[in-house]
Symmetry: C2
Subunit: 405 residues, 2 copies
């Protein structure tokens, strides 16, 4: 890692990765983040009612500590989900061993898993790898950790921001994984709630309650606004840790910090979409003129989950009638004759019908780009949202039809 | 048509097909059903708020006549949707011309369209074809009509039942089309509501209100229980016509007729799924032990719409973890540790975890069949449903990514 990069990593955290032997590929599959001192923590979990064992343990631990985390232990290659009490025991075994290794309470360990569902997790593989983890811990292994948590991802996903608060520098950095089964529906810990895994570290000092409030707001405009395939995972987790090592205290009212946190989370969320399974086109949806923000999100999700819209995008096909159908069944308040659709700056639909100036060849050329924007104006209100999604390709089918993933 | 087949067609109806020139392929694209005398009629339409022009006209006509239809005029190759007032005018032009040709009121004509959305319909092509239609009208053209309404369908879809009521024979026959954009959400005419088009004829005498009640009940267990791609069309329509030509009067309380009607509609619905775009596996979902029937349907739809589940089926992959994830995010009341899953007679999941007796090789072999059954027992109640769906293949993507369908 360059000296420049190390200046982007929040102070007070060390990272390591190891090969525990869970991935069939034999690649690194175990990442650990250790805070020098117990950090303030806030988390969001998947809304899926079938929820992996580590999430059960995480909620228990966060409740026990009031939002304090020392060690984050993340394995890929096995989701430890639908594994019953055996799965809970396995997650707790890893916590106990990590607590002993790093000198903290088991409740200060935050376990996470991603990979196949329904196969028992061999905790001893992770326990045995803790020795290697301890030796390797350092700031420079940030990227190694970001790589070890990947599954079907093709690239590591990280984001960094530095922000001046009260004349002093605060750093925020994030790492995450996610490519398929991406439609996070993150809810606060009180409810069960994505296999997107995301970790955001900051060296600001922030109390857990304030951190949670800022996480909730930022998640709503980032991870909760993306979808690759509409499948909400059993394991989705977002964790934010604040070490306080910068010496800068941040309160919930601090808009600079909130904006910087959201910037990191939006960057991570967009990286997940861009690396979505089999994706050949990344689409930014701008839904405007909705009666409510919830309606804007309904329209975005109906479009983002329509196989007919997504396959048209795969072929750069300007078949906007499929968009109209999805808008119509979204459940949002819609007056069809008011609907307008643009592809980038190109007028496609006006008054619910084909725009007089629609140029099919230009529309087709625009949709050939790797990234493009589709704007829908409903014309019934002033609410809006931005949402990021993908096309649906034959490659997606190949990736997921392989027996046995 | 064999003499035997002609004995299956309800009395009082004639059929014809012609090539109006709407399909690029040059194949027949216009089908007409004419009742010898004005028939009792009941209809259901798509719940999509973007709703094609013919459906607007159909509702208006059914309201004006109190549920009486003489002529059904169905074109393929153009959906006449998102076409504004021009689309309404085009549908009415066809009705007017058909009314003059067949000697009835324009309001007794029931127009239907299927094909591309957002392209103006050239009504004159249909009007010109009415002469050919009139010459060809007969019982024997039932199959020609069933073929003319097809779009991406690969086979014609028909069903026939004869039932004895009060010692006399009543015939029910249906024809339909549908392959993609299949997730009918049919609602009674009071609400806007699939591009599945289905037409059921009977020679029983049934009053429109009774016919509507029986149609509503039968649709809930047939067309509203299928999904190919989860996209609810702007044009879905189911129309039932009763000629009374058998001389047998049927009331709403007649369970034999209700059962026979449902049998025809379930047969047609299953044929649509079996001919779904790119489908290589047809899946019957049996959802049992739900708290409510609505919850059972929620679980079925979550499974039927999950790209990860559907691509696993394409690969005959017994990855039941994806089923658990879909069950979990369905919104139904679920207690994960009570969930049981069977593939056919094979135990896959017990107590929310892998069944001890699960045999991966046997499960893989079972899922290689062209048709198979997945049973989910939620264990939280006694409600249930049956639902028919498909896998998601690379061929589906190819069919729908072609620029420009």
């Amino acid at each position: 890692m360059s000296d420049l990069m190390s200046l982007m990593i929040p102070q007070g955290f060390r990272f390591a990765a190891a090969t525990a032997g869970l991935k069939a590929s034999g690649r690194p599959d175990f990442a650990v983040i250790v805070a020098d001192e117990t950090a303030s923590a806030a988390a969001l979990y998947t809304a899926n009612r079938v929820c992996a064992a580590p999430l059960v343990v995480d909620r228990e631990h966060m409740a026990a500590t009031g939002g304090r985390v020392r060690v984050v232990a993340i394995n890929a290659g096995n989701a430890n989900c639908a594994t019953g009490q055996v799965g809970i025991d396995a997650a707790k075994r890893v916590c106990q061993a990590a607590a002993e290794r790093f000198g903290c309470r088991a409740e200060e360990v935050f376990p996470c898993s991603t990979g196949i569902i329904g196969v028992p997790l061999d905790a001893e593989k992770l326990v045995r790898a803790l020795g290697t983890i301890e030796v390797r811990l350092g700031v420079e292994d940030f990227h190694a950790a970001a790589q070890a948590i990947l599954t079907t991802d093709t690239v590591e996903k990280t984001a960094f921001v530095r922000v001046m608060i009260d004349g002093a520098e605060v750093r925020i950095a994030g790492l995450c994984k996610g490519s398929g089964m991406i439609h996070p529906q993150l809810v606060p810990p009180a409810l069960p709630h994505a296999t997107m895994l995301a970790y955001v570290m900051t060296d600001a000092a922030v109390e857990p309650a304030a951190l949670q409030a800022m996480l909730n707001a930022a998640a709503e405009r980032s991870f909760n606004r993306i979808s690759v395939d509409g499948d909400t995972s059993t394991n989705d987790t977002v964790l934010v840790l604040a070490s306080g090592a910068s010496g800068v205290t941040v309160t919930a009212a601090n808009m600079e910090f909130q904006a910087a946190l959201e910037q990191v989370m939006v960057s991570l969320a967009r990286q997940i979409v861009a690396d979505g399974e089999g994706v050949s086109h990344v689409v930014e949806l701008q839904i405007e003129g909705a009666a409510t923000e919830a309606d804007a999100v309904r329209v975005a999700k109906a479009i983002a989950h329509s196989p007919l819209v997504k396959t048209a995008w795969a072929g750069s096909d300007p078949n906007w009638g499929r968009l109209m159908a999805a808008i119509g069944y979204s459940g949002a308040a819609v007056e069809p004759e008011r609907v307008e659709i643009d592809f980038g700056q190109l007028a496609i639909c006006r008054h619910g019908g084909r725009a007089a100036e629609m140029d099919v060849a230009a529309a087709h050329a625009y949709l050939k780009q790797a990234e493009f924007t589709v704007t829908v104006r409903l014309g019934v209100g002033t609410a809006r949202c931005t949402f990021w999604t993908t096309d649906l390709t034959a490659e997606y089918v190949r990736i997921n039809a392989d027996y046995s993933t």
